[in-house]
Amino acid sequence: MTTPGTAKSVHTFTPKSYNGASFWKAAWRSITRKTSRIIGFAIIVLFTLMAIFGPYLYSSHLPINTNAIYAPISWKYPLGTDFEGTSNLALIITGARYVLLAAALGALFTVIFGTVLGLIAGYFVGWSDSIIMRITDFFLTIPSFPLLVVLSTVWNFGHPLAMGFILGITSWGGMARAVRSQTLSLRERGFVEAARGLGLSPFHILFREILPNVSSYIGMNLLTSITGCIYAEVGLFFLGVVPFHVNNWGVMLNMAVFSAGAMSSPDALPYLLSPLLALLLLTLGIVLFLDAVDEMFNPRLREDV
């Protein structure tokens, strides 16, 4: 990408047509611009790898070691052990898959529901707008977590997809409203009207003209709703309202606080803190990586780099 405005370019200059490739190159450049963003990106990559390869690193039934109950942090047990002597680190790594997969799916559902409904409500103003907005207001007034707790009695959360779907269903309201208001303002902007005047199809206008202008908001929202979904599902497991099919961080927390009484005995601290640590580290990663996303999607920022 030559720097703009260099009139005196020496070689015969064939204008580089804009293709996807340079988007990723520019995106990578905006990530590496600040060290804080690199750390954030590294944390996210670490957790994704943990989710994908975690279960393969350990045997399906983690080794129990009765004489190492609540062992202090050591090289053998980097995060100490739980009430059965299994290494907390192993529990964290194997438990990551369910949590992250469900959160990713949940965030995906939220973004897809929110964006599509927001775009439609914002662009095709009229009855479709009022209906969608009534539904959004409905979901927004209900406090989402109590709703989840109530739904937990009906829905079985065995598979991450089921958990993701429910998380998505209950949290797309805010997103839909924000995307709708942005679409409404973009709709009045000249370039949308010009596109209509030039006879471009509504599909082109919605997804080629309006969507790119909203994509930086969507990108950031995708990340924030991942953290939101993680906390919701870990919270559900922590409260114990959802049957424990597979081990994950929420289950660890629940066991630590309610059954293993970690709140009262100081030496059970590592068992309690390791899931909390994992959660906080992931939040830190996402928060740091967030402002890189804004720059990636906004050409105005990207070009001046």
């Binding site: 009139a7 009207e193 010009a194 005047g197 006879g199 080629r208 050409p299 070009e303």
Partner: protein, 332 residues
Amino acid sequence: MIEIKNLQKFFQIKAKFSNHKTVHAVRNVNLAIPSGGALCLIGESGCGKTTIGRMLCGMENPSSGSIIIDGQDISKLKRGARAKLLQKVQLIHQDPYQALNPTHTIEQMMKATLKKMAKQKKKDADWIRQRMDELLKLVGLDPETILFKYPHMLSGGQRQRVIIARALTVEPEMLIADEVVSMIDVSLRLGILKLLRYLRERHNISILFITHDIASARYLGNDTELYVVYKGMVIERGRTERVIRSPQHPYTQALLSAMPILKGIEKPGKDRFVITSQFRQSEEEPRGCLFADRCPFKQSICDEKRPELVHKDDAYHACFFPKVRQVAAESI
């Protein structure tokens, strides 16, 4: 090429529970623009000139009256045919900063419509690139230094030229220029006006020029028509130079007198007068002449009856007591 017959447009302002207020934005306007011709709509903001422009390019539907393009009344056509016909009329927006998608490069913008045109004309990618370069050069831009840029990297003038080039991709027969120079630097405005004039004379594209600045309307060529609009009604019309040099309607005269005088280059017209009363969006519809409440030459009849647009030698005016007054500034 395009003709309007007593076009009407009124808006219902619905307050939730109180009464409805109807605002007459456009009051039976008639106009005809030959191909390659230019017609200027002059008036203050809120007088309905932009609404007329938006109705002509199909952005808004008239309340009554008909719009005839190439002999066909667009309201009687089916959606597809109507859209095809309306593509011959392209609107150029006032604000060049809003009219280009900030996330697309100039190349992407041009290709969006050219791909569609290429499909219709069964042409290949080379035709698209060749047509793109040709159009950008036509509007005075160098494709090499501009194609890969984003809109925020161009100046106001360059952006307005890109917008015109994009409008030309669908081979329109008419451009509606709605206040296209008001956001451009004063020293560069003439560049855009000369471009519009060039498109008229070389490419037979007719122009509907909407503005509040009479001076810029003169630079579209010598054979242009001038329509003065006040509160949605055409109150004077004729060839541009004639309306400027010998205006008949008091409102046109007030507009011309309000133009600032360039000391040292121009001297004020001898009958120049300034009206200080404020433009008030009157609650109820005035019975008589619309300009009555601000007209310094008003007489009693003006409050009772509303004058219609009448023909007098080669110009039209809507006033009971038309009197030519030398109000426009003359060069020293």
